[in-house]
Amino acid sequence: MPGKRSPVRLIIALSVAAALAVFLLYTSIAGGGTPSLRPSQLRGHDGRVSLAGKVVGRTSGDAHAAGLRFTLRDVNGIATVPVVYKGSVPDLFRSGRDVVVDGKLTGGVFVAVPNTLVTKCPSKYTPKS
């Protein structure tokens, strides 16, 4: 359609440009996503990460006082890391469950961001016999 002005294309082009601008603005302000790691990958990351693992061993402490202490292991591996966490503890949290928690590694201990602990639904429900 030579010679004719097409406002549709103009709008689409402008909108795409606007969307891109918004996107760039966002990524420059907030940065990319949070890296999602397993305990074995923690070494060398000193920023905030999202840690996924299986709760193993005993848990101790008080999540509403000095903090709940537990150990996370790779879901399919052997590397572990001690975690200290404050805030709400999901109903499903317990030894043997897969959880995701945000935080950062400080002196060998993963210090969690309060209220970020999430348990994954057990993939297949099997009751205690």
Binding site: K4, G32, S36, H64, S88, C121
Partner: protein
């Protein structure tokens, strides 16, 4: 019995393959009788799938643990209701429900949408057959609900979080929505294949699209309500991938519902509409894939199963097929008219579309971000709430504003003077309300004030539309205001039903803004007799009470609520300890204030051995408007869906030629 189920599924598969292959041949060569035969095969596949579903339902009801599915998802103690809803508690049953709903929709659509014309219909049958074939293949060869085993004495039981009344309605509603989007998709493809790219396929499937979209919307709100009252973290939506999976197709379908009006009225946006309907359908497949594959970390990922690659393959196939078809038919998809002005109804609909699609795509980007970053950098990264909230504000608020502007702008070209007249009152109301809100201290959240002000603008403009319309009908001689009002709606259900849905979205926006931007959260450890204050409510902890039930022990904190010196009542947040499942569940306590629409929401975060409680108290203003919005949404959708004899006559006259040739 399992043999009967298996045989029924194989029959269904064969019939679907037949309707796909023979149907395509018939449509291509224009064989009318063969096309009818393919259509009958589609009807037959529904009957066969019904038999399969009945077999599974009967096995569930009889506790027949020789069915692996029954043994894996139910147990003898499970109440009958949950035993039956376990039908869709697992993957195989869910897929069977997909196929059943798909075949049901296919039959109903093919039988009722004759208006689309014979040429299109002849191609719709094989497209529906193809989609059905995919699901039947999965059910027969990959994930059979009729796998057998040596009968166990008892089953494994149902995940306790699925033992909930919402389980009976929330998943089926979502499925009715997801699967329902297949119908407009099939008609769009049928129109492309037949080379009939006018608006007829849209008119023929309008109600099907609307119904699927309404089911999807209601299903999501039910899920949100389930999360709010049962899961108990004080929220209703968490941007979890599986929640997003339902939101994305809904957004795409919303865009589609709007843009088809432009094609109907002005013959524009043909390519866009086909793309949108394919996007909506693709996202609904993607949603099923996400829920079922466990590929992305989600608290909902119940299964980590083998059907992921199949789904991914099918999605790629559908995408490639759609794009090829569009490219092939591009010469037929030229618009008859063009956009005349950037200030017109068409233009506002276009903005609305771009925003909705942008929102859907940024959510999609967030959902697949872990996969993409894994591919690119070798290290998975996730985006979280701030990402989604940012785009919800960036795209959602302009959308809200457009909802007030769009319906009032004239088609083709609007003059600025007319615009001024139309918007004077809504604008004045909104500005006044915004200033009043700021004076009342709502300025603590800028986004909140903007959302409220826009909402009031939209409500005012909708109200004005109803007033103007009613007055016009009265002037035309309808008796009384009420009579004029009801005849106004009856004469244009689609338009006024749409306004009611808009009002529902505004209520939703107000509820979401109020309960998120202005919520108050307090967490304190209380000993007996201690008190805390949240948003003017004084909460006094009075100790615990415990009780035993057959399958759990419950412990409740006793919290007396005062406002000033007024005693408002006692709330009992606590926990249940389930013995058999060895699981604790949080039981929140909510006090609804119907006058203000807010909730006082109490969570017993931790029950301590020394008799103290860690209490989390949330004051959530206006949250009940969200649930009210659901009811208004259903009302508006029903108005728009209701059969309309006048419209039928008009369309019958318009497509007289096509109907006569059937």
């Amino acid at each position: 019995m399992p043999d009967l189920g298996r045989a029924a599924l194989v029959t269904s598969l064969l019939l679907l393959v037949y309707s796909f292959t023979v149907g395509s041949w018939a449509a291509w060569r224009g064989r009318r009788r063969l096309a009818e035969s393919a259509q009958n095969a589609l009807l037959g596949s529904f009957a066969a799938t019904l038999v399969a579903a009945a077999v599974l339902l009967a096995a569930l009801a009889r506790h027949d643990f020789s069915f692996r599915y029954v043994a894996d998802h139910t147990s003898r103690e499970l109440p009958l209701g949950y035993t039956l809803t376990a039908f869709w508690g697992g993957q195989e049953g869910s897929l069977l429900l997909w196929l059943l709903v798909l075949c049901g929709y296919s039959c109903a659509a093919v039988l009722t949408a004759r208006r689309a014309g014979r040429e299109i219909l002849a191609w719709v049958v094989p497209v529906l057959g193809l989609v059905g074939t995919f699901f039947a293949l999965l059910l027969v060869f990959v994930a059979s609900p009729f796998a057998t085993q040596a009968a166990a004495a008892d089953g494994a039981g149902l995940n306790p979080s699925l033992q909930n009344p919402y389980m009976a309605v929330h998943p089926p509603m979502l499925y009715l929505g997801y699967v329902g989007l297949t119908v407009p998709f099939a008609f769009a493809m049928g129109a492309l294949l037949a080379g009939r790219t006018d608006e007829r396929w849209i008119v023929a499937t309008r109600r099907w699209t609307l119904a699927a979209w309404a089911f999807l919307g209601v299903g999501q709100l039910l899920g949100a309500h389930w999360a709010y009252v049962e899961i108990g973290w004080g929220g209703y939506y968490a941007w979890d991938p599986v929640e997003n999976a339902a939101l994305m197709p809904w957004l795409a379908a919303t865009a589609f519902l709007h843009s088809v009006m432009i094609q109907e009225k002005r013959g524009m946006l043909k390519v866009w509409n086909v793309l949108l309907v394919a996007l909506a359908f693709g996202l609904s497949l993607f949603g099923t894939f996400l829920t079922r594959s466990g590929i992305i970390q989600s608290i909902h990922s119940f299964t980590q199963s083998s059907i992921g690659p199949w789904f991914l393959g099918f999605i790629c196939f559908i995408t490639a097929g759609t794009l090829t078809l569009i490219f092939w038919r591009l010469p037929l998809l030229r618009a008859k008219t063009r956009l005349e002005s950037l200030v017109s109804r068409e233009a506002t609909f276009l903005y609305n579309n771009l925003l909705l699609v942008a929102l859907a795509l940024t959510i999609l980007w967030g959902v697949v971000y872990p996969l993409l970053s894994q591919l690119v950098t070798g290290q998975a990264a996730t985006v979280s709430k701030p990402y989604y909230n940012f785009f919800l504000h960036a795209f959602g608020l302009p959308l809200l504003l457009l909802m007030g502007i769009g319906p009032l702008v004239a088609w083709r070209r609007a003059s600025l003077r007319a615009l001024g007249r139309t918007f004077l009152w809504p604008l004045a109301t909104a500005v006044a309300a915004g200033i009043a809100l700021l004076a009342l201290g709502a300025g603590s959240s800028r986004v909140g004030v903007i959302a409220y002000t826009f909402s009031i603008f939209v409500l005012a403009s909708i109200l004005l539309e109803f007033l103007r319309g009613t007055a016009a009908r009265k002037a035309l001689g309808d008796s009384g205001w009420l009579g004029s009002f009801s005849s106004l709606i009856a004469r244009n259900r689609r338009r006024y039903g749409g306004y009611v849905v808009h009002a529902a979205v505004v209520l939703l926006a107000i509820g979401v803004a109020g309960s998120s931007a202005y919520q108050t959260v307090r967490e304190t450890r209380l000993h007996r007799g201690d008190s805390m204050t949240v948003a003017g409510n004084r909460l006094v902890f009075r100790g615990y009470e415990t009780s035993m039930a057959s399958n759990h022990r419950s412990i409740r904190g006793l919290v007396d609520v005062y406002r000033g010196n007024n005693y408002l009542g006692r709330l009992k947040p606590g926990k249940n300890q389930y013995f058999a499942e060895d699981q604790v569940s949080n039981e929140v306590a909510i006090r609804h204030d119907l006058l203000t629409g807010g909730d006082l929401f109490l969570i017993a975060d931790q029950v301590n051995a020394d008799g103290s409680i860690d209490l989390k108290a949330l004051q959530k203003p206006l949250v009940n408007l969200i649930w009210l919005a659901g009811i208004v949404f259903i009302g508006g959708s029903l108005i728009a869906l209701w059969p309309d004899a006048r419209e039928e006559r008009r369309l019958a006259a318009r497509y007289a030629g096509a109907t006569a040739s059937l």
